[in-house]
């Protein structure tokens, strides 16, 4: 069937069609639509879930693959850092069914977070990693990854990148058709499923390395990596991942500036294990080899190593010689630049000349949406600190991952740090132990708290640290596209019998003595509460609870109708300056409410000293 779908959806359909019985994941751009596209669909025999975090997601999928089932686990690259501890152990044990771990890297950083290359993890773990180059391959290679995993009895990483995972492409792939499921079967095998003792661990390590060698042979037989040796040339090009999709276009671009014969080419779809036979054949046929891969030069290093083993001196054009960058994403021009360099041609000026138009472009700091409850928290923190006589930039407020981090931007400028999911509270504790005397506050979203924020609070309680943590509970995992989490209201949970985990019950159970729940739309109340809490010693937690404005707006929730009384408005624009709310507009002469954006949260209202902002209750 011809259809137009995204790379993530293609992976989801392929997993279902490959017979995956368990599909888990934790949201993270650009991987989220894999579980997202299956969410809410009742697929016979397939369990789909948004897990609490990536480690949990992986462990659930792994156990299913130990019960002779096929399982898929999805996450963004940062997620693999969280899951990695278990991944290594699981790789050592292998599987009896099949386990595919789908991870998206983000060269060019369109989703924020480090530009890490998870192929490094795969190398470190001796796990096969299959790199997809297109939406089409996202389907076929997912299916292949399941087969490979089952054949080698080891988990396989399927790697995509933002430009493939989020691309919607015309593809000819089957519709979703879940095959019938066989009965699960788990056998007890201490030597496979535990790490009890050095011998067991080293035996598992040996098996893992052997399984990688078997994977290499299978992939050679199945022509997963495509080698094409051209006659009459000593130039070869190796492309991996999405760079393969730019090959023809890049060559065409290079040919506009230089005359050259067809070159030998190798499309590498498995960085681990590298297709060493194919690489050797290319080295034997070429004197110069261009390697184009995004992020780290893993394939390039492999080429150099094989040349060394063969005792042949070749010229390698890639990252080590400085032609291409380890930073950012690639396109056809990257290929053209590398090929022209290999041909010793000058890089045409049109490749590098820029109009400089972007420098005229207005900066758009990203802020929270109109009516966002987080706005109330940032403004209350700022105001509470001001009332305590603490100057801006004197009190450290640590941030965490999610829309909650937008408090680092103007007009709030509240937050100081962003490290990784759950780091806000431990970072705050570190500042306090370092001797910072001004109040230290940590902030965290609901999903992030449940994901990795709880241990930090436990640590603070144990050490009885004088700190305030604000949990900003908007009911959803928002920044990644409003996914359900354990704290989401019961009516939106996947199935009727699912439970909701109430953060308001977790916090006191952690031993936090000073705990309060408050509505962030109530600026005055929230400000007073923060001020009061900061006077207490020990660990204090405020649960700022109000649903994400966008999610509420999808159900047409409005909290009031706002208007500006033009007779009273002095155009001081304080409301705009303090809230930065897109619902407030100054058109050069008057302040208005943008009725489409404003949800009547009322946050701006209390700021106006002239009572010009009027809220009509509904």
């Amino acid at each position: 069937m011809i259809k137009n779908i995204s790379g993530n959806e293609a992976v989801a359909i392929a997993a279902v069609n490959a017979g995956a019985a368990v599909i888990t994941g934790y949201p993270g751009t650009p991987s989220s639509e894999t579980v997202g596209s299956l969410w809410g669909k009742n697929i016979e025999g397939v369990h789909v879930e948004w897990s609490t975090n990536e480690k949990v997601a992986l462990e659930i999928a792994a156990a299913a693959s130990w019960a002779n089932k096929r399982a898929l686990c999805t996450m963004k690259m940062s997620g693999l850092n969280v899951a990695y501890d278990s991944l290594v152990s699981i790789a050592y044990s292998g599987c009896t069914g099949a386990l595919v771990v789908y991870v998206c890297d983000d060269p060019g950083v369109s989703a924020g977070m480090p530009e890490q290359d998870i192929r490094g993890f795969a190398k470190m773990t001796d796990m096969p990693v299959i790199d997809v180059a297109s939406v089409d391959e996202s389907y076929w290679l997912t299916k292949y990854a399941f087969e490979l995993s089952e054949r080698i009895q080891s988990p396989v990483i399927l790697r995509s990148v933002t430009s493939v995972a989020l691309s919607h492409s015309t593809v000819d792939i089957p519709d979703m058709m879940p095959p019938a499921q066989a009965e699960p079967h788990v056998y007890k095998d201490i030597e496979k499923f535990t790490k009890a003792g050095a011998k067991i661990c080293m035996d598992q390590h040996k098996r893992l390395i052997e399984s990688l060698e078997i994977a290499r042979q299978y992939m050679r037989e199945d022509v997963i990596n495509q080698l094409c040796i051209a006659k009459d040339t000593s130039l070869g090009i190796i492309v991996s991942g999405v760079c393969a999709s730019y090959l023809d276009e890049g060559m065409e671009l290079a040919r506009k500036h230089a005359d050259f014969h067809a070159v030998s080419s190798l499309v590498v779809r498995s960085t681990v294990p590298l297709p060493t036979d194919e690489i050797r054949e290319m080295i034997e046929n070429c004197d110069t080899i261009v390697v184009v891969e995004e992020n780290e030069p893993y394939v390039e290093h492999g080429v150099m190593l094989e040349a060394f083993k063969l005792g042949k001196k070749i010229r390698v054009i890639g990252k080590e010689d400085g032609t291409l960058s380890r930073i950012g994403n690639f396109d056809a021009m990257s290929i053209a630049v590398a090929v022209l360099t290999a041909l010793d041609c000058e890089i045409p000026s049109e490749f590098t000349e820029r109009l400089g138009a972007e420098s005229l472009c207005t900066k758009r700091p990203i802020g929270v949406c109109a009516g966002c409850p987080h706005r109330g928290v940032f403004m209350s923190i700022n105001e509470a600190l001001r009332r305590m006589g603490i100057k801006k930039d004197e009190a450290i407020v640590t941030g965490d991952i999610g829309c909650t981090i937008l408090g680092m931007s103007p007009p709030f400028n509240t937050l100081w740090t962003e490290v990784s999911m759950g780091a806000s509270s431990p970072m705050a504790q570190g500042f306090i132990h370092a001797g910072i005397k001004t109040p230290v506050i940590s902030t965290i979203g609901d999903s992030t708290f449940l994901h990795g924020g709880i241990p930090g609070v436990i640590n603070a309680v144990q050490n009885n640290v004088d700190m305030l943590t604000i949990i900003m509970d908007n009911g959803w995992t928002c920044m990644t596209g409003m996914q359900v989490n354990a704290g989401t209201s019961k009516e939106y949970q996947a199935k009727e019998f699912h439970n909701r985990v109430d953060i308001a019950k977790i916090v006191p159970a952690l031993g936090v003595e000073h705990f309060a729940v408050h509505d962030p739309y109530d600026l005055e109340g929230m400000t007073a509460l923060i001020g009061d809490m900061l006077k207490l010693s020990g660990v204090k937690v405020i649960l700022a609870r109000r649903e994400c404005a966008i999610q509420a707006a999808r159900r047409k929730v409005k909290y009031g109708i706002m208007s500006v009384d033009q007779d009273k408005c002095t155009k001081c624009k304080l409301c705009i300056m303090k809230t930065g709310c897109p619902g407030l507009v100054y058109d050069g002469s008057n302040v208005h409410i943008d009725k489409k954006l404003c949800n009547g949260c009322g946050i701006c209202k209390s700021l106006c000293k002239f009572n010009a902002l009027v809220k009509e209750e509904i």
Partner: protein, 190 residues
């Protein structure tokens, strides 16, 4: 045959819908299409871009600098971000809506005017169309207006007829046909 289209605007404007409508029309023609949207974060008001590549064969997601046949910009300042991607002599159509960040609204930051955008754009190509927003009938969708203007002023017309795109719009938005057709016709007359 192949066509690379680079679209820019601000989140919440409906830029991605323009790209989706073109993609659907291409699909119906049996053409290959790759649509790669970049939305940034969940919030509104941030920079949004989409790269659309249409052809007889599979095409890669990213358009390289100087590789776009057409730029469709839905916000004045954001049109500047797309210029380096346009082929010399490619077509650019700009809907000069000004989505002002707070700092500009408060007079703390600059915002480029139409003349200066026009001046840099002209350094890239002769084929710059700055649309007259007053031609859009009150209450009608500006992204549909921009799409039909793009059909009128760019190489998009080499691929699609106005009937094709109009029917695509009707299929996608069965509810607002009348008002969307007003936008569409206004774009054709722009």
């Amino acid at each position: 045959m192949s066509l690379s289209i680079y679209l820019t605007g601000v989140g919440g404007q409906g830029v991605l819908t323009i790209a989706e409508l073109i993609m659907n029309a291409a699909m119906r023609r049996g053409l290959y299409c790759n649509f790669y949207p970049t939305k940034g974060m969940a919030q509104r008001g941030g920079f949004v871009k989409a790269q659309l590549r249409i052809g007889d064969d599979a095409m890669a997601p990213e358009i390289h600098k100087g590789g776009a046949d057409i730029v469709i910009a839905m916000e004045l300042s954001e049109s500047l971000r797309a210029l380096d991607y346009l082929k010399p002599d490619g077509d650019i159509v700009i809907y000069p809506y000004r989505w002002l960040p707070t700092d500009v609204m408060l007079g703390k930051a600059d915002y480029p005017d139409e003349a200066s955008v026009m001046e840099v754009a002209k350094k890239r190509t002769e084929h710059v169309t700055m649309l007259d927003m007053t031609l859009l009938p009150e209450g009608c969708a500006d992204n549909i207006f921009l799409l039909s203007a793009a059909l009128k002023y760019t190489a998009l017309s080499e691929l699609f007829s106005s009937d094709e795109l109009a029917s695509e719009i009707k299929t996608r938005f069965p509810k607002g046909i009348e008002s969307n057709m007003l936008s569409f016709e206004a774009g054709m007359r722009s």
